[in-house]
Symmetry: C2
């Protein structure tokens, strides 16, 4: 028997790969969750039919979501992550020694359990003493804090179902209010090739709330098209001109992120620039 996974969207196209074993399958209160074992990608976490992380390429997304905002902020002490129950973003955030505390607000506790069991190198910092895990809806949580976080990272699924409210203006306004005076935020912002309308909507809604809004790109092979957008938004800090490569300590090395790439990632292809306009 051969088992093949397919992630097909409105484009009637997508990624397919051979599945060696189905390690886990469950309908949680929030979503369908599957874990597949594969030869090439290692274990793969799938939510509602969409690949979230694979052991082979998760480093790209987690490094780029985390280090761009954290190295832009001169002194990130308090960090909020919404979503990201797999722990990959936490793992990158706690590499910054200035960070005192991280709150991880994940609506679906099953994601955390599964990550601990099947993705040990992704979830490895979920027991870090600097971390609090808050199993609740980030949209509600964010209303409860004012002027508290230096950095917010939105590490969400596609903006449908439980994550739909994470790209609307009222959510971004609450995020703005939750940030300190020189706070910064980064959000996963979808594919400019397959979901240009989502990219456009995220840009416009962020831009309507934040004085500084700039988008950047990375290559994530297992997301549709391999080209993935992140939104950077802040109360004033610019991720290119307020970033100095010297802020990254000598000897620090990552698998994807580099100080030069931090700045280069904001140079968007012409057709993506078109989506990131008022």
């Amino acid at each position: 028997m051969e088992l093949w996974f397919k992630e097909i969207d409105e484009s009637q196209s997508g990624l397919t790969f051979k599945v060696k074993n189905v390690l886990f399958s469950k309908q949680t209160p929030y979503q369908r969750l599957d874990v597949f074992e594969t030869d090439f990608y290692g274990n793969v976490l799938v939510l509602d039919g969409c690949v979230q992380i694979t052991q082979k390429d998760e480093f790209v997304y987690h490094e780029m979501l985390s280090h761009v905002p954290l190295y832009t902020h001169p002194n990130p002490k308090n960090v909020l992550i919404i979503g990201g129950g797999d722990g990959g973003t936490v793992r990158e955030v706690v590499k910054h020694p200035e960070v005192d505390h991280v709150d991880l607000v994940e609506i679906d506790e099953v994601v955390i359990e599964v990550a601990k069991k099947y993705f040990p190198e992704v979830s490895c910092e979920l027991d870090n003493p600097k971390l609090s895990i808050l199993p609740m809806d980030g949209i509600e949580y964010i209303k409860s804090k004012k002027n508290h976080y230096d950095v917010i990272l939105i590490d969400s699924t596609d903006p449908v179902g439980p994550a739909e409210g994470l790209i609307v203006s009222s959510f971004y306004q609450n995020a703005f209010d939750t940030l300190t005076d020189n706070g910064v935020m980064a959000v996963q912002a979808e594919s400019p090739f397959f979901y240009p309308e989502w990219v456009r909507k995220i840009y416009r809604n962020l831009h309507g709330v934040f004085p500084v809004t700039k988008f950047y790109l990375s290559f994530t092979p297992t997301y549709p098209g391999g080209m993935w957008t992140f939104g950077f938004a802040s109360k004033g800090l610019d991720p290119v001109t307020d970033f100095a490569p010297s802020r990254v300590p000598a000897g620090t090395s990552f698998r994807y992120y580099t100080p030069d790439l931090h700045q280069a990632a904001f140079q968007l292809p012409a057709f993506v620039q078109e989506l990131c306009r008022e």
Copy 2:
């Protein structure tokens, strides 16, 4: 009936899409050639089972292969394209008014015929008076010219079968000899995620021959992983420091390439830098 195309490689994964109609299928003297009609990608050209171009995203590859070397060279008059029978690279090259003449060396004339029929907006400059089409093997052709071309573009299929000889040292030495004293070359250089050994081999072989060898990246959604490497090699010109954004005339616009992206594309992710070392 539903017809689905799949491009699966050793990773046991790949792109799949729904085919509306099969427009053309033929075993040429060199390769199997198919043209599919799709809703999302438009027409798709497939050689030996590998997607070469789609109407929706071919602009990325053709712009990045062409404009990076052509805007690096201060006065590109004579250009050689090896492969590229679809005409997409020719279309971009003749946008440079300094170019006096282009030689297109395509081994498979069926590619040219098919491009003219099914990809009119790609092949639209194949009757340009500045162009000569030479239906022969580029590996042989390049031995016949010395000190002639300002720019060489290697627009080839994967380095197996007829294209295998396009990534070996002896071919690069012949290309070096064919270039003028300040000549530059760009080559399609595969996926660092799926085919890292090819990227490494192309880098090393180019670096063994050319004083300047730098690699750059672009996003091509329908190539494996969406992340595609190009190799730049020259007798002395540096594609970053010898390029001035002012060389791109005001008012010039492309769909992917921008002067800022020209330079940013050379800032490689850490794991790709590892492949592009001696």
